[in-house]
């Protein structure tokens, strides 16, 4: 069909149904129809990671993904990674370390860093840099981003999110 089709999927844990055109990308549907502005299109070519979301538990570039293909899938965006009461450990670590300047790339880095820690709970610096190879930060906050991922890894391993000060003095 060249016409709009209604698709149903789970978005950040809640069922939604949306009418979308075949040519609409996932990022267009999320930001324009569903008003979720955390993932954003920047390069539009799969290179920068700003549009990262999870589809069925795997990171994808939503700029290269047709919206209709998430029919029946589970989609999670940066807005859905914490319970609303407490930040995700990776979010908390990015704030404490100051792993951004303008913040444009941050949602994508956080999504990728969370996935990295699921795959490699205790990543080396090389593993961090390698996993984040498809994420670009124009402000070049890379050293702080790597530090934040290491901090989040330690926090997740310890199962706690103590204040940075405590941790540094420990």
């Amino acid at each position: 069909m060249t016409d709009a089709r209604t698709i149903r999927f789970t978005l950040n844990g809640a069922p939604v149904s949306v009418s979308v055109m075949p040519h609409e990308t996932l990022i267009e549907m999320l930001s324009l129809r569903l008003e979720l502005k955390g993932a954003r299109e920047s390069c539009g070519q799969g290179l920068c990671g700003c549009c990262t979301v999870y589809v069925n538990g795997k990171s994808v570039s939503s700029c290269l993904y047709l919206a209709q293909l998430v029919d029946g899938a589970k989609v999670v965006t940066i807005e859905g990674i914490n319970d609303g009461a407490e930040l995700d450990p990776v979010q908390q670590a990015f704030i404490e370390v100051g792993a951004f300047q303008c913040g444009f790339c941050t949602p994508g880095f956080i999504m990728m860093a969370r996935e990295l820690l699921d795959v490699h709970p205790n990543p080396t610096e090389d593993e961090i840099r390698h996993y984040l190879i498809g994420n670009l930060c124009r402000c070049s906050a890379y050293p702080e981003i790597v530090e934040a991922v290491k901090l989040a890894a330690r926090r997740r391993a310890a199962g706690t999110t103590p204040a940075l000060a405590e941790e540094l003095s420990a």
Partner: protein
Amino acid sequence: MLGFELSEPATLDEAFDLLADGDPGVRPMGGGTALMLMMKAQIFKPERLVSLRNVGGCFDGLRIDADQSHIRIGGMTTFAEIERSPMVLQHLPAVVRTMKTLANIRVRHVASVGGNLAHADPHLDLPPVWMAHAASIRIVSKSGERVIPVEDLFAGYYETTLGDGELIGEVIVPVRPEWTSTYVKVTTRSAHDWPALGIAVSANLQGQRVNDLRLVLSAALDRPTRLDAAENELRGSDLSEAALKRAGEAAVAEADIHSDSRGSAAYKQHLLRVHLSRAMHSLAGA
């Protein structure tokens, strides 16, 4: 990117029917990563995209034959599934290593092995690796199927020998315990750039002696290409400096390398000599 139809047939027969009309705007879709880039750049204006993700059959799955002779990788298998398979790591470690510098994990979560081959961009990393491993592909169509070596798929720059309505159903890779393989991605600008050349080598070695080998050059030519003359210089000989030098010269003589934005022809020829020799040494050292 406007006004096209997107269908997701649940069977291969339905897919064949949807692809039947021979219109260049009607294309099968694997992961869609290459198609999306071409659509966004308006190089390709689709009429109808036929996603293969639900067709099943040989397009799905990643398995080894009961007699352990061949690995079969369904056409819709993603790169991430391949790189995370312990079976692939055990039998085809060079394929897993190649993934480490291929795009990024988001692309590898989506890109399919069939779409990668059918795209026929000569800069792609995996096609020469499949060729070095002596892999074949099963091509399916409404009228039946045929199996061809991967090297017979490529007809030129972004061109394949696939006929209308033919699909790549699976990649078949022989398990060759006596062989070792490697792939060298030679980039000349940034590490993320398309390679100036890709060199995939696979050899059956006995100490320094080369019983048999396959050498494939990609990126610098319009399609990934076996280096027959260079292979002949090394087959049956020892990996001496003299033999490697002869092989390097033979490779340069048989490959019609042109200058482009990634380097002059002379520079790329030099890279070919050097990296071919290093790749062979790395196999002998491994």
